[in-house]
Point group: C2
Chain length 323, copies 2
């Protein structure tokens, strides 16, 4: 039995939308977005009533060659400020920091020196202690934080229980269900969101959802997570994101009943900017190889390679990854 | 509160899969499938463990010019028999007959003269009396029948209540929830399937689901319908179907836990036949205009035209259909 929160006719005031186009979409084009694109996306999100815009990763320049990635891989304060100024708006700015890939002690400056509001700490379940250390560091510097537990379809319930307990005692604001492999169906997403909500209830932490579209469930999983209580919802324009991509921002805003959201600026942005990205060679979105890695609960890297190589031997591919 | 039937770990023995590729996919290419394609699809469905294969519409040749459509628009007994012989298999053959578009009294022959097992009677809610007459006619001739109530997103509950009562008293085997406009979300599909199941419970009729992918919910809606008790599931290979298309057969077979189903023949068929259809110019599948007609609960014809014309003025399109 599932308890549904809200209805098709009601507004869930607790729901917040985060646009992750630059961050998850950056995995498609190595973060080479033009400044013009980023400025237009920022204006689009403001006009659409989006609550958070994510500018990319705060990756460690000692680990990643700045000549091989666009600047949003590193999402530095100055680069963000060049787009948003002081961001004197109601929309908050987020940046993702991966455990083990971010020199957070040095590269995350005090909030008073940064346009960033929220750091989202991305971690696999086994590096939770370092994630908590990063959360505490960022909170102490004055930021809001979330914890994005990746590849939740691979997590053991006993480990998740401990992780949620650790996070309950941390200053984190929300914990995300991240279906990195696009492996989960709505029935499972509802169970996992319930599990998170129960584990976090006493501490008052929120639940977030970040879905992938391998099995064409990214949008459905996002709104189903919401229906059982998740309130931080990730979308990207046209679902742009690694492999099969994400929940589309336009689908999500179209679904939400809060009159503060407006799909129209997103439609204009698609016309004016996204179609060009596709024409320039960026490839993302549902395809058979992604279905197959999703179905078998695997990292999409083999599927991404198959799509890039235009390998259409689907049965051979399935037999290889299933082996 | 929703009662979930079965689990991710269990087999629902009552569930049957129907491949509607020739029928809904025929709306994409005016039913011009080669005999080679149809034979291979038949073999594929047998190998994949599919329960029903639909061969097309039994359209009235007095209404539709046989020179403007392939033969599966008319799905005559002899044409089906040329593919399946006596169909001495466990898979049943279905044909769809639209209210008002099928000269059923003459063109549906007694079952003893036909390879068809099941006639699916498609109707809008307002022509239910004629649908019941067709159901009775086909049943009396020895066929199984279903009733596919189209555009359920537009149906009034009070009318549906009466329709389900009429169908309960008819010889129909199952009644389908048909989301013709791809307008519905999982939360709504569950409600509607529940509503059907309750209305049909006493009579023992089954519930079916036929979904469209306008909002990328066709697969999710199909498995969610199943989770609350629907047992007749429509899929098409690669989701081939009008506009945004349908629930993909490969996704559905991948999801189902019954070991009788096998996704592998479908993957081979996609490689060998479906990719060629696409290369030859057949266009279907999710695109922004379909999202917008789905969101506004409209027939997809304007979206189909926009996609065909390669009209990418999405905001103008949205404003026009929303007017």
């Amino acid at each position: 039995m599932i308890q549904i929160k809200g209805s098709m006719m009601s507004v869930r005031e607790d729901v917040k939308v985060l646009d992750a186009t630059l961050r998850d979409g950056g995995l498609v084009n190595d973060f080479y977005f033009s400044d013009d694109f980023v400025r237009a996306l920022y204006r689009m999100n403001l006009a659409a009533g989006v609550d958070f815009m994510e500018f990319g990763y705060r990756a460690d320049k000692k680990q990643f060659d700045v000549n091989k990635f666009g600047k949003w891989k590193f999402a530095e304060d100055d680069d963000i400020r060049a787009i948003v100024g002081d961001n004197d708006t109601n929309m908050k700015i987020s940046v993702m920091a991966d455990v083990g890939r971010c020199d957070y002690k040095n590269s995350i400056r005090p909030k008073s020196e940064s346009p960033v509001d929220l750091f989202r700490i991305a971690t696999y379940i086994n590096t939770m202690p370092e994630a908590v250390a990063m959360i505490e560091d960022a909170a102490q510097k004055g930021y809001e934080t979330t914890c994005n537990i990746m590849a939740v379809s691979k997590c053991q319930e006993r480990d998740l229980t401990i992780a949620l307990d650790m996070l309950s005692k941390s200053p984190v604001k929300a914990v995300y269900v991240v279906d990195s492999y696009g492996a989960l169906y709505p029935i499972q997403i509802r169970d996992i969101v319930n599990f998170y909500a129960e584990g976090l209830a006493e501490s008052g932490k929120l639940v977030g959802i970040h879905a992938h579209n391998n099995q064409q469930c990214a949008f459905a999983n996002t709104i189903e997570a919401m229906s059982v209580g998740a309130s931080m919802m990730d979308g990207t324009v046209m679902g742009m994101g690694r492999g099969a991509g994400n929940c589309s921002l336009e689908g999500l805003l179209g679904f939400l009943k809060n009159p503060k959201y407006d799909i129209s600026p997103v439609l204009s942005f698609i016309e004016d900017y996204m179609l060009q990205l596709r024409e320039d060679g960026s490839v993302w979105g549902y395809d058979i190889p992604y279905l197959l890695t999703g179905l078998t609960d695997q990292h999409p890297r083999s599927a991404i390679a198959a799509v890039q190589e235009n390998n259409r031997h689907y049965l051979d591919f399935y037999n290889e990854i299933w082996d």
